[in-house]
Symmetry: C2
Subunit: 376 residues, 2 copies
């Protein structure tokens, strides 16, 4: 298959799930992370994701999200075809979300190569990313599940890693349109600091950013092998999709599906079977995991030490540094607070520091336990 | 004059001015410090002031405040006689406020002994305070302007001091009902740290809490000598007070009056003339000057390290200490912030630390300069 022929079969899938608990109270069930502009770019993360991929796939874009986000996603991507908005009645983890997209696309055309890209990541420069995707599509067309691994910039213990093997070859030669493709030996979990340092030093390890490009037929084949129950359920739903039976079948089957991440349901078993390749991504990548990331992604201007996000933000800052995210028109005054994080929303206020940004998740869990779910 | 005869001539004056800028955004022009409950006692500071003094003066209480606070003060002290609510069309500092009260009372009865007590101080225990006031009234009845000076608990550089001299005597003997009265040698300004330490070590210095008990005739006599223009204006207004000319005379004269503190207009010149005495106050006293004072006055419960003020406050705190003042029903979550001060109001939010509590004043000035006066 030529490179262009492969690209013609390429379909973008954007799973838009996950609340982004560490970004509470900005992100919450009713307004998850992907619906916010966390970079000050003027667009939401899901819109940014769409705009990065549309030049490669045109109108061949599918979004999988929760039913409650139907209108918000439509508003963000008015270009989306009605049949390409796949709504989950309840969250079932990435295995079911991506698997359902694969099953629906497979019924449309079994030769489709799908690329799954999370809705809430920040990537730059776009052309470097797009070139990596093109290579991934070319490598996938040779019959591989292809991930794009991020070249690590530091020994992070917050990400899983991808261990790569030999350069990928086809009939004894490098793949012409995917010269950087390598075999994947294994996926490894979030490491200790010591292991992370070894990984980065070895140059054989890349960050797992959860980006997968694969022929839908091959993805479903591995899913059927590793998770036959999930595969059977998704196949039944996909068969009813777009017919009069869709609602009945989905309501009956979806709630029974096992909850499992796509990593366990497909990527790891496929890697063990020698069916996974990786393209190194040399672009900068951030999953905007917490408010420290927001400070990192939005450097304060030289004369100021506060990063401010929010269309109508009014911030007065004196002897202070950190980040203010404002979802209100209130005036926020900061005096003598260093590395502070202030997130101001109409019904909840968070004050923490960039060093404690990861602890927001526990706070949200504690609030839930205390019955404060009106603000979660 | 017997002690009871003096008390029968005693009239409480409560000057209720001053926004309490260091307590922004809780205190502000439209809702100054004295209209807040800053101690968690369940009453505003002005109500607390009234309740401390009413047992001594009964219905003989006068409040001097801004016109815009008429209804708020009425609501706080419904017991107040209509003719005892003196409203200023614009603030003219304590010299004019206290001087006008003295001039009005002097026309009613030139033998009145007035006691002036700011509306925004916190004092305990009340019976120790009342005993000091009784002594002050008895000493004033001998023809003195009497201040109650606070026995210092530390070398504060934030207060002015009163230097006392010999025990006050009447015809060669201590005053029977004011055994602790001493002459005042001088009032001294806020000192350096070094001087403050010397003052506290010497035991001859007390904090100036701005409490004055004096025969109105004597107070006006010193005012006439030190500030003849101010005295003349106040006399003209007092003559018209309660008549049909009140509005016209006040509107014409008040705006022209000089702005001067009662300390310079009366207390210091009177002390130089040997006419001032002091009663030591051994009660605890706080002028609630900033949010650090609020933390100090409202110690956190043993198991928690956050002081929380606010009827409807919802606070979640983890690895944090300090004070939260909530004027909203928003949930406030604090993670990993030590000695933090969070003041949450509907239109403005302050985040600082107890160490920076004094800097709030500069912030308010900067906000004013930036045209943010809608929240001031």
């Amino acid at each position: 298959m030529t490179s262009q022929a492969a690209l013609d079969k390429f379909y973008t899938v954007i799973p838009a799930g996950g609340v982004g608990t560490r970004l509470w109270p900005l992100s919450r069930a009713s307004a998850p992370k992907f619906l916010h502009d966390l970079t000050g770019a003027g667009t939401t993360l899901i819109r940014g994701t769409y705009e990065r991929l549309a030049p490669l796939t045109g109108s061949r874009v599918m979004v999988v999200t929760g039913e409650s986000h139907r209108e918000a996603v439509r508003a963000q991507i008015p270009e989306l075809n009605t049949e390409d908005l796949v709504l989950e009645s309840e969250p079932k983890d990435s295995g079911a979300a991506i698997g359902l997209a694969a099953a629906i696309l497979h019924r449309r055309d079994p030769e489709i190569i799908m690329g799954s890209f999370a809705a809430d990541q920040v990537i730059a420069p776009v052309d470097v990313f797009q070139q990596a995707v093109r290579e991934a599509v070319a490598a996938a067309a040779t019959g591989k599940i292809v991930t794009i691994g991020i070249t690590p910039t530091h020994a992070s213990t917050g990400f899983g890693y991808i261990r790569r093997g030999a350069a990928l070859q086809l009939e004894g030669a490098p793949i012409q349109d995917a010269p950087h493709a390598h075999e994947v030996v294994e996926f490894v979990e979030k490491p200790s600091q010591e292991l992370a340092e070894q990984y980065v030093a070895s140059a054989d390890y890349l960050w797992n950013a959860g980006m997968f490009v694969a022929p839908v037929a091959l993805l479903l084949e591995h899913l059927a092998r590793a998770e036959p129950e999930l595969h059977a359920g998704l196949t039944e739903i996909a068969a009813a999709w777009g017919t009069e039976q869709q609602a009945e079948v989905t309501a009956r089957v979806w709630p029974q599906l096992p909850k499992i991440a796509i990593d366990y349901a497909v990527a790891e078993p496929a890697a063990a079977a020698g069916d996974v390749a990786v393209i190194p991504g040399t672009f900068t990548w951030d999953d905007v995991g917490d408010f420290a990331a927001i400070a990192r992604l939005n450097p304060a201007r030289e004369q100021e030490s506060m990063t401010v996000l929010g269309e109508k933000a009014r911030v007065y800052s004196d002897q202070s540094s950190g980040v203010v995210v404002s979802d209100t028109q209130r005036l926020v005054a900061l005096i003598g607070v260093e590395n502070i994080v202030v997130v101001d929303t109409p019904d909840a206020l968070l004050v923490t520091t960039t060093d404690h940004a990861q602890s927001v998740k526990q706070a949200v869990e504690a609030l839930k336990a205390h019955g404060e779910s009106d603000v979660l």
